[in-house]
Symmetry: C2
Subunit: 147 residues, 2 copies
């Protein structure tokens, strides 16, 4: 039980149907596959191939595409540094919800700063957050590994 | 294809695995059940009962609880009018994603203004958005039906 914001009346509501029941129903374990890389590095191609392959194996996945979310959930955000951080935070929170729901959530977005990705990773157990950083010319651009 | 914000480089990315494939995999149709009402009106109780009953029928649902989301996705929002509207907008966007993923998404939150709920409804086909307004003393408080 905890409180947030200016209110002392915001309580955590436990669901009677937990993650384990959903995983049993789906016969899979919820997790996040976080694909990061520059524009044009192949994030969407990898995300789509992975989703297709999982589907052929009867596994339920869902792609959270950074660009697509800028048409909806994140449409109020621009491209300033703090907006980019907020963009990634929200995608991380939603990816966490999808993993909790039992899905294999494939997040595909430019997320250059390790501290932002690590904040998303911290929402989940280590084994449930798989990061794939796509390289350009065989190495990371400096900013991809910066903190 | 469309562009958003300050960038002309944000394109919609189609997923190769669509809603229909996911619905076939799950053997159910994705939708949103939006439960609204005042604090103490029984929203969470109804959401939990519905989720439990769906699970016993082998159907995958997920509860988006307004209070719980204020600990995560919406933790930056307060209780001013514009923050409440933004709170509901984000829940609507996430509910839309869950329905698109094929789940029966049960959104349970105080959402008194019809215009806010209608904005969420507008994201989905009419038949995929089911609204349940919980009454107090047999009638809606005025503000629940206000626009």
């Amino acid at each position: 039980m905890s409180t947030v914001g200016n209110s002392t009346n915001i309580f955590w509501q436990e669901s009677p149907i937990g993650k384990l029941e959903r995983q049993k129903l789906l016969n899979q374990k919820g997790c996040v596959v976080w694909i990061t890389g520059l524009s044009g590095s192949g994030k969407s191609t990898l995300a789509c191939s992975l989703s297709r392959e999982l589907c052929t194996r009867g596994k339920l996945s869902y792609i959270l595409d950074g660009d697509n979310l800028r048409h909806g959930l994140n449409k109020d955000l621009g491209f300033k540094a703090e907006d980019r951080t907020e963009n990634i935070r929200r995608v991380g929170e939603v990816a966490h919800l999808f993993a909790d729901a039992g899905l294999i959530c494939i997040a595909s977005l430019i997320s250059p700063y390790r501290k932002d990705r690590d904040a998303c990773r911290a929402m989940l157990p280590d084994s449930s957050f798989i990061e794939a950083s796509l390289l350009l010319n065989g190495s990371y651009p400096d900013y991809v590994v910066s903190t």
